[in-house]
Amino acid sequence: MSPSVPLQEMIRAIRSARTQCEERGVIQRECAAIRAQFRQADNGGRSHNLAKLLYVHMLGYPAHFGQMECVRMIASPRYSEKRVGYLGAMMLLDEKQDASLLITNSIKNDLSHSNQYVQSLALCTLACMGSAEMCRDLAPEIDRLLRASNSYIKKKAALCAVHIVRKVHDLGELFAPAARSLLAEKNHGVLHGAVVLITELCERSPETLERFRKTVPDLVQIMKGLVISGYSPEHDVAGISDPFLQVRILRLLRILGRNNEAASDAMNDLLAQVATNTDSTKTVGNAVLYETVLTVLDIKSESGLRVLAVNILGRFLLNNDRNIRYIAMTSLQRIVGTDHNAVQRHRGTIVDCLKDQDASVKRRALELSLALVSATNIRSMMKELLLFLSSCPLELRAQAASGIFNAAERYAPSQRWHIDTILHVLTTAGGDVRDETVPNLIQLITNTSELHCYTVHKLYRALLSDISQQSLVQVACWCIGEYGDLLLRGECQETEPVQVTEDDVLDALETVLQSHMSAPATRGFALTATMKLSTRITDNVDRIRSIVSIYGSCIDVELQQRAVEYNALFKKYDHMRAAVLERMPVIEKNSPGHTNGESTREAVKEVQPAKVKQAETLLPQQPTSQVCDLLDLLGGSEEPLQPNPAVGSTVPVLPISTSSTAGGDLLDLLGGLEPTPLTSAPTVTVYEKGGVTLTLSSEKQSDSGLTVTLTACNSTDSDISSFTLQAAVPKSVQLHMKAPSGDSLPARGAAKVTQMVALSNPNKVNLKMRIRISYTSQGSAFQDTVQVDSFPEH
């Protein structure tokens, strides 16, 4: 058995081991020696051995054989052994070990020891690893010690009480009175412990919180003392008197003042004083200011104080220290929802932070900037955001891109700007955008018919320069296919004219088809575009035929299917080709992810009923879209793959052209796909009184969006005028009432008044709506309220 080495020697030996293996060897030898020593009876070097074991444990090696030794040493009368024993208990024992129960008695005895240091050891250990039973046993002891005269012990006892309260919630009641009395202490250590204890008690139980609200004046007094008092060497940290205690008290005040007017009023003066008097040149001062700002924003403070708080955050943003900038932005993030205008004032600084070096700061700045975008500043903000997108780190790209899209959609000042922005994003970060961007963009493009020429020119040019960004290529192919004739015509008001020949266009599409960078879906787009061009161009139809027939033997099944069918279109159904491949109608905006109520722009949202060829663009999965593309081409499949929106209660169906009757033959060939009948929206009568009838019908627009149509009818003999409807919905639901069709209801139901209401229910709460009806009839005003609890859905 090797002689035991003193601790320092061992540490040096471990340090000098050059490899893991060597280190493990040294440690194993030592552990063996220690184990042997433990087995020997009374040994003078016990504490040394245990200390060595604890060091080894800290490095990560198993040390469970030391547990019993800890227990033995705690029971020893010598202070040095007790101390290491308790230290070992705190590190090696926890609730799950059985040995922890054995020390309960020792702790109990030591808590009443004459030596305060022994008492403190016991208190620390209990606070560290006391299990629920131990806490319950010893709680009365702790309570007694809380009232002891020794402030050193009181301090430790307070923290031990915190642990007990965390472990056994009911014992909180026991400590409440003692905690209250501790607030009168002068010793900062005890005060600190008391504040922590009270915070813990208040967080756990609302009744205790109510009781402790009465202590707000005391706490205010203590804070004032700390803030105003002159230099005190005892508590000074970089010029602030006990900042840690100040922060703690502010936090407690926050908890006490939340949702309570009276308490918040009592604190207003103090918070203003702290905010103005604290020296903010050092970090400690800023820490206190930060806590103050958090408190002000959380309680029911007056508006002047809130503005002060936001200004402090603004000052933080200009600070050189990046830590402070970071926390300023984190806090601004939290309040941008409520104090939007106040935060807007600091928009310039926030946008500058987008260029900061630090990744966390950049992320925060991005989130804040996106939250601050509004209709007035959209152009300048977008410039900054696009600049950011080109230089931002990869992990933020997706977030930035989707944020930009959302902002552009909500506040786009013009269509052309919107399209430009989206194209810009696609060229810079095309790989990181979400899949539904492509259908959204396509739908946007079809909606703006006057810009088709401009759009297709731009996309063509983008396609020529770079074909690696899949989303961009897909959109470009689709547009070229649709509007190829505009491209070939060459003139365009918005951009410089450039001569594009048919060969150039076909070359471009062929490059996409053959490039190894193109995804299968992109190839599908390109093939379809090539096919569509066969009707738009005049000279190179043969070339198209040859391209298409090549892919008839392609390995990719989707492409092969398409190519074979297009070939069939050339060979057997050539007479139909023109009609099948004609321009697509405007697509409706009803894909998921669009909230109908939010849009404020005057965009043309032609609600095209019925013959919806929406299949291709509104499906998220590519294979399905290819199949539906097929159905699409064959004309007139009325199989709605999404619930069809029905406008009002009339569903006009466009006359189906001759192509689809022949297409019907093809459909039969493919196995008789039946067009499903369009269902009309069910209506429900919600109010019927005094001759006025109000009916309600609803259509689901998206996962969380609902459009409700209210129709009013008057069956009395006299006309009704100034008929208005007001609606209220639960808090998390958003409501947008469109303009009513009129405000007078002629007698005997000669005409109706309809009003559409767009609802957005992102949290999917139970939807209820309260409608107030007011009108004037025969010179007198009527008002009534009705509550709608269930909405008809289909």
Binding site: P6, I11, S120, A127, H163, D236, T283
Partner: protein, 160 residues
Amino acid sequence: MIQFVLMVNRQGQTRLSRYYQSVALNRRAALEADVVRCCLSRKKDQCSFVEYKDFKLVYRQYAALYIVVGVTDSENELSIYELVHNFVEVLDKYFSRVSELDSSDHVQPGPSPRHPGRDDPERTHRGNQQEPNPGAALRHRQDGRQLTGSDVTDCKVSMT
């Protein structure tokens, strides 16, 4: 609340570790390695607060030693930042010119004034703070008694 405190050197060796939430022994090494990697890879001009899994790391570099504190979301990060500095000041005053090695060298128990980092338990008493000023805690010991680690732990206790 403070979840853990680590003192790590540039090579990634843990000099000191103290956990205030029970973490299994085998997971500790992995956690330490991960945390350290996070902090060591940060550049000089990046801020000291890192979001890691479900808590925040506040770290500070002193020469070759990194002191990392893991806290829950509800803590005031600047306050913890100052706390770390306070801790180092205490050590500095106690040992006059403390260095990385001191923290693990002086672990001799018994009636000797050396007992820094090891007697860590009281320092951050279950994740809560006690005494604000290092001087105050040190002064407790001027009554002629032998300075023991528990005294230093007092100072550190102020750092919760």
